[in-house]
Amino acid sequence: MSRWFPWLLAVLALAPLLGGAYALRLGTEVVAWSLAATALAFLYRTTGLVSLGHSAFFGGGAYAVALLVRNIGASAYPFAVLSAVLLGFAFSLLLGFLGLRSHGIFFLMLTLACSQIMYILVKQGFSGITGGDDGLPGIPRPPGLEEPWAYYLAGLALLLGVLLLYRAFLASPLGQVMDALRQNERRTEVLGYDVRRLKLLASGLSGALAALGGAYLVGYRGFVHPHDLSWTTSGLLLVMAVVGGMRPLSAGVVGATLLIALEAFLSSYTDLWNLFLGLFLMTAAWTTLRSRRATHVGA
């Protein structure tokens, strides 16, 4: 973790608590999106894979928690969150199983297609269970965390825990191998590592973390909406991870903080938010390319 990153976390922790209800709401959203954007950055950091469909896990986690809590009651939260995370893991593993059999571009297309199909199934296919276009309202907060600030602090602790785990993972032998995998897949394979299994593991963990983000968001917001599963959500998560720089540990948090702040600012002026999101993506691609060219010249 770079030296200034703990300070960003400290500001994140304090600002909403001092800044009133609106700042607290934004802060909680930042925590939720940070978790999911970190999941995306983690996948890239460890395997070099890009997912265009992480909304499937983010929104899927949210829907899993919403359905379980609505049907069983607020006391089911630990169980609901755990099942959301496990479902995210299993589902992502399955997707990896299908998509990692050939060229990386197939994984990309499969993630995008799969998230879109989830979106349509939730919106139209099973609208009796999922509430269709209207989503599911009236989800209570977990017991003990009903106060917004308590929920926010719990989320912050969760995020910190995830980041510490992430750091420990990178430092572990397994994390080192994954770093090698991103840098040179063929060499890693020749060294005797089962590349496909490593990719599957990373993909599963990433899906689980994104589902955790969705679960956290729904507990705060109190409703789920098909929009959480849409390609806009995937695109937003991708922009966040890219703006944060993809590789650093802090990528997801930095990107989520910037983008949530920007969205809050821009949406009071225009409803063409997707246009700006698209322009961000294009600029991000352009700048990554430029910086890569620069390093090539330097090396």
Binding site: L98, G99, L108, L275, A285
Partner: protein, 286 residues
Amino acid sequence: MEFYLFVLLNGLAYAALLFLLAAGLSLVYGVGRVLHLAHGGFFMLGGYMGYSLYQWAGNFWLALALAPLLALAVGLITERLVRIVYGPDRALEQVLFTFGLAFVISDLTRFFWGAQVLGVPPPPVLNRPMGLGPVVYPAYPLFLILVGTVVALGLWALMRFTRFGLEVRAAAGHPKMAEALGVPTTQVLRRTYLLGVALAALGGVLAAPRLALAPGLDFTMLILGLIVVVIGGLGSVTGALYGALLVGLADSLGRTFLPQFALAVIFLLMALVLVFRPEGLLGGRR
């Protein structure tokens, strides 16, 4: 029996639209290794431009002729932009860039044409039922099947008999070798891109009387196009054709027997192909 003929014809009409979309997607990937995620946007753009031209001129045929040309003009601009990310080992940048472009096109069409559902009626000549042996079937879908067949044959001839086709196949097969032998690969890619964009827009205009024009159409179509090329194998027109036929028929069957889960049927088809033929049906050989 007649019932199944209906299902078959519906599937073929849908497959024709999917083919127009997927052929360009597949060719652009084959020549430039660029996954053009804004392709669905051009399909939708073609549809909306066709709508406006129809409103302006009151003539479907004029709209059908002009909308692809207008989309081509837009394609000339976006091609200059996408050119920034051409090149090998740039998968991440290309995906970010074309995904971003798709967002921009999506929001701009919503800005210009609004969020309400728009439609174009089929031209009067084709807006009637036709006797087809034992069954009576609307003429417009038959026209779609005809256009799809003509375009497929035209593309095949283009790839097989012209210098451009030769260059496309060379660039897709081995870009470096092709360049060393004097094939201007960048120029070939540019022309392929424009061809793909025009075909997608043509598909969009043709789809306007069949599918509703509304926000979200671009991504629905992009996903279907991706599924088609995943099934058929990236990089070949023939693969796109087979993929489009399979997806079109699966969709038609799904819509008939499991109306709400048609997409799930298609997805199942894709999953099966990925398990047994990970490179797509024609992925191994170009």
